[in-house]
Structures are given as structure tokens and as C-alpha cells.
């Protein structure tokens, strides 16, 4: 908690953003600009999901802003009929922080990619998350640099052969969810580009969360890293790999719900178990609101980059005072305590007067 409890009311993520009376459609959120992603790009699915879920929020369209950095996904704002800024590489969280802090009445979204958010912009990402600025950060993770035509990224698996790593990448990759939790992000989720329903659920929960929300979206790049997430989409494979989270429910997966997640008494961490062996009552019941981030972190470590056990849904969703609310509160407190007396400020305490002769 904050050192000074300001007694601020618990607000929803969209509190303060004016609502629209009437019905909106996905079409209203589309611009007249031609979408220029490659055919088959996962970004199309995410764009469609966002355009169709935003009307449900019932916000005034002019009070929504999309800020992006550089990369394929960062073209996103051009296709959203809201306010938008396509900024510079890695800096979108910083720019959005200034915007969100100075304007309570805006719903501010950041669209970024694995290179943009985790490589050149890694610093801004972790600081936005630790400050808990009321931003919704959509991290399109395709594990490759697409716009620069196929170099490995900070989420590419070790040994990956790309144009810049003909003998294989030497880098150990980031797990974006683990990274965000390490920065004490108050909301962290993960979804697949192809899973409209799951993606929409996570996006809606993110929108309703007050504070920074990081949503990692596994997104296919058909040109430079095609099929990176196919194992999570193929029948027979996906059931064995995807571990969906439902708040308040035991964590189970598999075609018959035969696998589950339980505490590992040896390590204190979590492990994948067979339900038949441990019993349903010993499965972990998912609680995204746990204050201690180590539980959500353990969830994020269940699988590795081979996508063997890939947890999706909302890992963490806790209430913590947001930087922008606190910053505005300080300004309002100062205004209430002391009038804006410019003449008094300029005069100061010690003056002297030179009189005319």
C-alpha cells in the first residue's frame, strides 16, 4: 500500500471517462485508412477484436486514445477511429503516462510489440507498470522483428536462426508476463490472437481495471515467424498445452480436464499434476486478486518457451493506487490549500523598492 493512505475511493478503470448515450458499432471504430499488414497477419484478428469490443464499453469515442511505438503492431492507431499517436520506438508508455496523468477523462491504450516494449522500450514498460499508471498496454508478441524484416527479438527462443543470427540466437528470452509481475504490475493477462473470446475477456477485464494493465497477445507473423504459436492452436495439441485461468475456479486443463495445477510442497511453487492422482480438492483455485505477486509469477513459470504449458487469462488483478490519480490528487490538494497567487509568488519574501528621485 502507499505510505500515505489518501483515502481515495476505489475507482473502476474507466471512471472519469465520459460515456456515450446510444449504441456504437465496430464500424464506427474503423478509419478510412487502408490496413497495410501482411495477409494472414495476427494483427488483423486483434484489430477486429478491439474494434468490436470497444463499443461495449460505452465510452465517448473521442475520449479514447491509442498510443503506439514502432513496429508492425504500432500501426494500430491509424486504423482506430479514435485519437491516436504513432510515436517513436519504445517510448509509447512514457508518452501515454504524460497523457493519462494530465487527462483523467481519457481511456488510454498502448499498442506495442515484443521488440518495442521489451527491447528498446523495456525501461519505460517496467516503470509504467511499477507506477501503476492507468494505461492498458497490449503487447503483441510474435517473437520476431517483422518491420525490419526478420531479426530475433527479446522473446525469440534460444538458438533461433534469423537473418541476424545465422548460427542461432544466443539470447535468453524474456517471459513478458514474468517480467511484468516482477515489476509488480497490478494487472497481467495473456491471450491468443486467434481466440477472439478469450482475448475479448482479458481486454474487458483490463479496461475495467484501474491501473496499468499488461496484456500479452501471442500473435502470428506469417512472413518471418510463421506458425510460432501453432501448437497452441492445433487440435490435440492445444488441449494439452493451454492452461486457461478462471478466477475462483480450480485450474484444470486437457481435453477431459484431466490435468491440473497444484502446489508443489517441495519447492513451494506450482506444478502440473494429474487430477486423478492428486484429487480435485488439491488443485489450486485461481485467485487473481492475491496481493503477493509470487503466486501469479509461479503461474507464469509453469511453461517455458517451448509452449508446453501456456497459461492464458488474467494472472493478476489487484487494486493499488495509481500514479495518475495520486498526481492529480496532489495538484488538487495544493490548489485547495493555496490560491494561485502569481503576483505573490513572483514577489517572494524579500523585496526592496527603488523610488523615483
Amino acid at each position: 500500500m502507499t505510505a500515505i493512505d489518501l483515502g481515495l475511493p476505489q475507482l473502476g478503470g474507466l471512471a472519469g471517462v465520459p460515456t456515450f448515450e446510444g449504441k456504437q458499432t465496430a464500424k464506427e471504430y474503423k478509419t478510412d485508412q487502408e490496413v497495410r499488414w501482411c495477409p494472414g497477419c495476427g494483427d488483423y484478428a486483434v484489430l477486429a477484436a478491439v474494434q468490436s469490443f470497444l463499443p461495449d464499453l460505452g465510452l465517448k469515442r473521442e475520449n479514447i486514445v491509442f498510443v503506439s511505438g514502432i513496429g508492425c503492431s504500432s500501426r494500430f492507431p491509424y486504423y482506430m477511429n479514435t485519437y491516436g499517436m504513432h510515436s517513436i520506438h519504445g517510448r509509447a508508455p512514457a508518452i501515454a503516462t504524460g497523457l493519462a496523468t494530465s487527462r483523467e477523462d481519457l481511456s488510454v491504450w498502448v499498442v506495442t510489440g515484443d521488440g518495442d516494449a521489451l527491447s528498446i522500450g523495456g525501461n519505460h514498460l517496467i516503470h509504467a507498470l511499477r507506477r501503476n499508471v492507468n494505461l492498458k498496454i497490449l503487447l503483441f508478441n510474435n517473437r520476431i522483428y517483422g518491420l525490419t524484416k526478420g531479426q530475433y527479438s527479446p522473446t525469440s527462443e534460444e538458438g533461433k536462426v534469423t537473418k541476424s543470427t545465422p548460427m542461432g540466437s544466443l539470447d535468453h528470452p524474456f517471459n513478458p508476463v514474468s517480467l511484468a509481475l516482477g515489476a509488480e504490475a497490478s494487472f497481467v493477462g495473456r491471450a491468443l490472437d486467434s481466440d477472439r473470446k478469450g482475448l475479448t475477456e482479458v481486454l474487458r477485464a483490463a479496461a475495467e481495471h484501474r491501473g496499468s494493465a499488461l496484456v500479452e497477445i501471442y500473435q502470428n507473423c506469417p512472413i518471418f515467424n510463421d506458425g510460432a504459436f501453432d501448437v497452441l492452436k492445433e487440435s490435440g495439441e492445444r488441449e494439452e498445452r493451454l492452461v486457461p485461468l478462471r478466477h475462483g475456479e480450480p485450474i484444470k486443463f486437457g481435453a477431459e480436464g484431466q490435468h491440473g495445477v497444484a502446489r508443489d510442497p517441495k519447492t513451494g511453487s506450482l506444478k502440473v499434476v494429474e487430477v486423478a492422482e492428486v484429487g480435485e480438492e488439491n488443485l489450486v483455485v485461481h485467485d487473481a486478486t492475491l496481493e503477493d505477486p509470487s503466486y501469479a509469477f509461479a503461474l507464469s513459470r509453469l511453461g517455458n518457451h517451448n509452449l508446453d504449458h501456456t497459461v492464458t487469462g488474467v494472472f493478476r488483478n489487484v487494486q493499488r493506487a495509481t500514479y495518475d490519480d495520486l498526481a492529480r490528487h496532489q495538484v488538487e490538494t495544493a490548489k485547495a490549500a493555496k490560491p494561485a497567487d502569481l503576483a505573490g509568488l513572483l514577489r517572494g519574501k524579500d523585496t526592496w523598492t527603488v523610488l523615483a528621485d
Binding site: I70, M85, S87
Partner: protein
């Protein structure tokens, strides 16, 4: 502008009659330098004496000079910290070339500063620190207080630490704590010598140590002990009076450049009726702008200490997109990091104030020393054709007006503006005639509210320009019907859509340049009292004081010289080319290797001569005087 009355001699002395046993002499100007170890509180001591001089109504100028290390090794030459104060009964322009009085708190301070004290100058030394060990530490083979090496000065040896410790014994403070008050002893002694009032310092100490009244009273006691030491010992035969200065009618206060800059930003917010958003990262010597602005949230000022320089300016630009007055503050290394975002602000054509308090470079350079070497960085330090207006304040007080001017340009023309202050005026102080708030400019802004397309489509075109200023509309989020997207990619003229069209890019590059070239700035004013000068000295920024003082000296010697000082470096004043052409010789002194000279020569094909020095310290008037005399005589001889 008045001639500089003072001379290179220490003082012009007019013997008066005092009521004490000591003589009271009236002098028109005095330069005092307090020098000691970085832990000795010399900056505070200088600041307080400055406040006393200001409260008394003297004109003044100050030069703090301190190492980058917070506590360099004690008693060493790199650890010496000094504060020079010039106060006078007339308007002065510089903190003075050489001190009349040097207060040296230890051997290192003596060694580092004695060369600047002219023969006959007054030297007050804290003898307690002149131990064999301390002398050896700075390379004194023998104690200079005991040989003849200081014979040319009027030396006062005072055991400041011992006396302070003895005086503070009844307070029960530890010896170490008591000794720390010796700077207040020195201040008390100097205050007595120059007939300064004591109430201001007493009040200041009580406020500063409000949480620890015992320390406050101990410091006040040390201060009085210093005062009484002067009064009762017979070693000081003379005291001095410097009458209040006959400055222009008005109410004044003392102000440093960084404070004036911060106040200028607060005022800019009020004059534009916009909330102020400062996104910044701590850096010497600009951090005080953040510290000051953080105190004034009641004016609708938000200060954001970001994770780095890039995030600082990014947040400021984000806030500007939302309709705030976006400001970022930094020094040269920070500008290097912010360059890409400044370019984005150029491309997106959004108002943004970028404050660069320059310091010695390159790289980390000399963090606490002054330099003017960021001009070309400000002018050209971005990829592509990315013109940015540049404003440079000339003195501490001028920082206030410069901040307002930078804001006017940013808001009117929808552009980032670079303001180039430097360490000299940032930390230096001078009297400031407090402006009437009613006289401050109206900087109010008209946000776009309606679609503006000229093709009847009813669309909003974010890059449709004002025909006069070439500024584009500022449509802030929350305005219905004006939803639009901007960014770093090239924009189509008018519609603002992404465009890779070759002709469009050529046009947009030229439009952005034309917008900056067309900014209305004040004409260059010529200071040439006789009107007969053939040599023009052209300066910019903080060299105003030394150049102005040098010109006064040259004229007092019966020679003619003209002075033009630039505030707007991009664009240059409209009349500048015509002004330059009037003179046979143009001399450009700069604390860099000739950056303005390069721009002037390139733009005006004038054979301007560069005079440069990059020593981390401001020019001395004496030095520039000699340079100018050479040019004047050279022309006369030709």
C-alpha cells in the same frame, strides 16, 4: 546604459567619518569571494551575503563555483568550493573579474584562489586549518601565513574555528557541530565590515533550522560572534559602505536563473490558461528547475520525475497532445537523449518547451561548470530536416522573460522550442524588477473545435495550416468529431494522412522550415552610444554581462564599440543581416569553439571573427576588453 564606473583597481575610495573607532569608507562596488572546502558551507554563506546585499538595495551579480563531487576529499584542491559576489551602488553586469576581498577557509581555498586577488586586496584566512598536514595536502612546503609570500595583501588571520567553538561552548553542542558554524562566523565578520543588517540572516537561520532550534540559535550565535569579532578587535581598521544602487524605479528581489526559469514556466501556464506538465529527469545544473516547479502545484503544475531523460520529454509531449503546456528540463547530455522525441514533436507539430541548462561537455564533461557549446546541438542535433526555434536568456532575471517568449513561440507556431540557459546564469543571481502580473503577455490558445476540411467532406484535417503562422490546429482528445491520428511518419499536406509521396515530402520539409523561418521575433537592438563604432561585438546568452561590461570599459577609454546581443538564435532577427553589414568588423565571443560564428558566417557571408574560450567559467570583462581594444585599434591602424 550607464558606463561601468568601477575600474580594474580594487576600489575607488572615498573616506567618510564613522562613529566607531574604525574608519568608515564609502565605496561604489565590492567583489567578495568566499572560498572553502565543499563541506564548509560556502554556497550558503555567499547566498546569505547576497540576500543581505539585495535587501539593502545594492545591485549585485553572483558566481557560485563548486566541484561536481558532493564531498570531494576534504582539504584538497578539487574539493574547493567558492562563491563570488559583486555588489554596487550602480547597475553592474558581471560578478566581477577579481575579488577585492578573499575569504579563505583552508589552505586549499587559499591556493586555488589567491592568484585572482589583486595586490592590495584583503585576505581573511581561517588559520585553524593551516596545519602541516593540510598544507602538505595541497603542496605548500611552508606555511604561507608565516613567510613573506602574502606580503602584497592586506592579510587578516582569524582562528575562526577556535573562536566559534569557544563561543558556542555554553550551547552544549559537540565540538564538531560547533565548528561547523564557522561559516556563519565568517558571514558575521563580513556583515560587520560592510554594515549589513543582521535581521534577515537571523530570520533565515531560524526558518532553515526550524526543526532544530538549538542549531538555529548556535548558528545565530556564531554569526554574532563574527560580527562582534570585527567590532571589538582592532585588527580591522576600516569598514565599508556601499550605498543602495540607483536602479530603475520599481520593486526588486534577488533571483537565480533557475528560479526565474521556473517562475517563467509557472507564469506561462497562467498566461496561457493551460495546466503545466513538466516531465524531467534530474541533471546538474538543471535540477533546481524541477525542485522549484514541484513546489507550485497550486498553480496547476504537475511535475513528473521520469525514469530517464527520454521518458521525461515523452511524458511532456504526451501531456501536450492532451492540451497541457508540456515542458522538459535538462542539460546537454539530456538533450542528446531527447533528440528523437524533439524530432517527433517537430513532425507532429506540437508545442513543447525544452529547457537546456548548458554545462561543460562533451559527454559528462564538467557538470557544475558553464559553457555555451550546445548551440549547434540545439540547431541541428536531430535526424532529417528538423528545424527548432532557439531562445537564449542573457542573465538570471532574463530567464523569466525568455520562458514566456519560448512559450509564446511554442503555442503560436505549434513547435518544440529550445531554451538555452547555462550553468552561469542558472546558479548566478541578480536583482530582478518584479513584473506586474497584469503586464504579462496573453498567451491564451484556441483549441480546434470544428471540422475544417476545405473540400466539403466535413472531415477534420490536422495538417491544414494557419495561412499566417503556418501552425496546424491543436485538436485535443475529448473533442468530438476531430478524432485523428498523428505520428512520426511523414504526413500528407492538409489531411495529415501517412504519405510516402516524393513531392509531398519535399513540400512538407519546406513547409516545416518555412514555419520556423517565419516566426516573428524582436529586431536586434544595437548598443552603440556614440553611433560611431566600426567594430560590432555580437554575443548570445549568458555572455551578455561580460561583453556589456567590456564594452563599457572600452568606451571609457575613449574608443567606440557596438554591442548586439541575440536572444533569438533561430530564427535570427529579421534586421540582423542589415545590422552586421553596417560594421567593418564583427567579433563574436563565445564559450565554445565558434558555433554562433559558424552560423553567422554561413547565413550572412560576413567575415565575422570568433573569440572563444571554453574554460568552464564565464568570460572576464577585462579579458574581453583587451580583445575588443585590439580590434578597434587594428581597424584604426588599417
Amino acid at each position: 546604459m550607464a558606463e561601468e564606473k568601477g575600474t580594474v583597481e580594487p576600489m575607488s575610495i572615498d573616506v567618510g567619518r564613522g562613529t566607531r573607532t574604525t574608519d568608515v569608507r564609502k565605496v561604489d562596488r565590492v567583489v567578495i569571494r568566499f572560498a572553502g572546502d565543499s563541506g564548509d558551507g560556502m554556497q550558503l554563506t555567499g547566498d546569505r551575503f547576497t540576500s543581505e546585499a539585495a535587501a539593502f538595495g545594492n545591485d549585485l551579480a553572483t558566481l557560485p563555483n563548486f566541484p561536481a563531487e558532493i564531498r570531494a576529499p576534504q582539504g584538497t584542491l578539487p574539493g574547493v568550493s567558492s562563491f563570488q559576489l559583486h555588489f554596487a551602488d550602480y547597475d553592474i553586469l558581471t560578478p566581477g573579474d577579481r575579488p577585492d576581498v578573499l575569504v579563505a577557509m583552508n589552505p586549499a581555498a587559499l591556493k586555488a584562489n589567491i592568484a585572482d586577488l589583486p595586490a592590495g586586496g584583503t585576505l581573511i584566512v581561517n588559520t585553524d586549518e593551516f596545519t602541516k598536514r593540510n598544507l602538505t595536502k595541497v603542496g605548500y612546503a611552508a606555511n604561507p601565513l608565516e613567510d613573506e609570500s602574502l606580503a602584497q595583501y592586506n592579510v587578516h588571520q582569524v582562528a575562526m574555528a577556535t573562536i566559534t567553538r569557544a563561543a558556542l561552548e555554553p550551547t552544549g553542542l559537540s565540538k564538531k557541530d560547533a565548528e561547523r558554524a564557522k561559516n556563519m562566523f565568517a558571514l558575521g565578520l563580513l556583515s560587520w565590515m560592510y554594515h549589513r543588517a543582521t535581521e534577515g540572516t537571523e530570520r533565515f537561520l531560524r526558518e532553515k533550522f526550524a526543526k532544530n532550534p538549538a542549531i538555529a540559535e548556535a548558528n545565530i550565535l556564531a554569526f554574532h560572534t563574527g560580527w562582534n569579532y570585527g567590532e571589538t578587535t582592532e585588527s580591522f581598521a576600516v569598514t565599508y559602505e556601499v550605498a543602495p544602487a540607483k536602479l530603475a524605479t520599481g520593486t526588486y528581489r534577488q533571483i537565480t536563473g533557475n528560479t526565474a526559469l521556473a517562475y517563467g514556466i509557472v507564469a506561462a501556464g497562467q498566461c496561457s490558461k493551460l495546466p503545466v506538465f513538466l516531465g524531467t529527469y534530474p541533471i546538474t545544473p538543471a535540477s533546481d528547475v524541477l525542485h522549484e516547479l514541484a513546489k507550485h502545484k497550486n498553480f496547476g503544475v504537475t511535475t513528473f520525475q521520469a525514469e530517464d531523460e527520454i521518458a521525461g520529454i515523452g511524458a511532456a509531449l504526451g501531456a501536450a497532445f492532451g492540451g497541457a503546456l508540456g515542458v522538459t528540463s535538462t542539460s546537454g547530455p539530456g538533450i542528446a537523449l531527447k533528440s528523437e522525441t524533439i524530432g517527433l514533436a517537430v513532425m507532429t507539430e506540437m508545442p513543447l518547451i525544452v529547457l537546456d541548462v548548458q554545462r561543460g561537455g562533451p559527454s559528462t564533461g564538467l557538470p557544475t561548470k558553464t559553457e555555451q557549446a550546445d548551440l549547434l546541438q540545439a540547431m541541428f542535433g536531430r535526424n532529417g530536416e528538423a528545424p527548432v526555434p532557439i531562445i537564449a536568456p542573457r542573465s538570471p532575471a532574463d530567464c523569466f522573460d525568455a520562458a514566456l517568449e519560448a512559450t509564446r513561440i511554442a503555442l503560436t507556431y505549434r513547435t518544440p522550442v529550445l531554451l538555452l540557459s547555462d550553468g552561469y546564469i542558472a546558479n548566478g543571481s541578480e536583482p530582478w524588477m518584479i513584473p506586474n502580473v497584469e503586464d504579462l503577455p496573453d498567451l491564451s490558445v484556441q483549441f480546434a473545435t470544428e471540422p475544417n476540411a476545405t473540400d466539403g467532406s466535413g472531415e477534420f484535417w490536422p495538417y491544414l495550416r494557419d495561412p499566417e503562422t503556418l501552425a496546424r490546429p491543436w485538436a485535443v482528445p475529448g473533442t468530438p468529431g476531430l478524432e485523428h491520428r498523428i505520428g512520426g511518419l511523414e504526413k500528407a499536406d492538409k489531411t495529415g494522412n501517412i504519405s510516402y509521396d516524393p513531392d509531398n515530402h519535399d513540400k512538407m520539409v519546406r513547409l516545416r522550415q518555412a514555419k520556423i523561418d517565419g516566426i516573428t521575433v524582436a529586431d536586434a537592438e544595437i548598443d552603440d552610444p556614440s553611433g560611431a563604432a566600426r567594430v560590432l561585438v555580437l554575443g548570445w546568452g549568458s555572455s551578455y554581462g561580460p561583453i556589456g561590461a567590456a564594452c563599457r570599459r572600452v568606451r571609457r577609454l575613449g574608443m567606440d564599440v557596438a554591442h548586439v546581443h541575440l536572444r533569438s538564435l533561430n530564427p535570427f532577427p529579421r534586421n540582423l543581416g542589415e545590422v552586421l553589414a553596417r560594421y567593418d568588423k564583427v567579433v563574436i565571443p563565445e564559450m565554445n569553439l565558434g558555433q554562433l560564428a559558424m552560423l553567422i558566417r554561413a547565413k550572412y557571408l560576413v567575415d565575422a571573427v570568433s573569440y572563444t574560450k571554453v574554460a568552464g567559467l564565464p568570460f572576464k570583462a577585462e579579458e574581453l576588453q583587451d580583445v575588443l581594444i585590439d580590434f578597434v585599434k587594428g581597424l584604426d591602424a588599417a
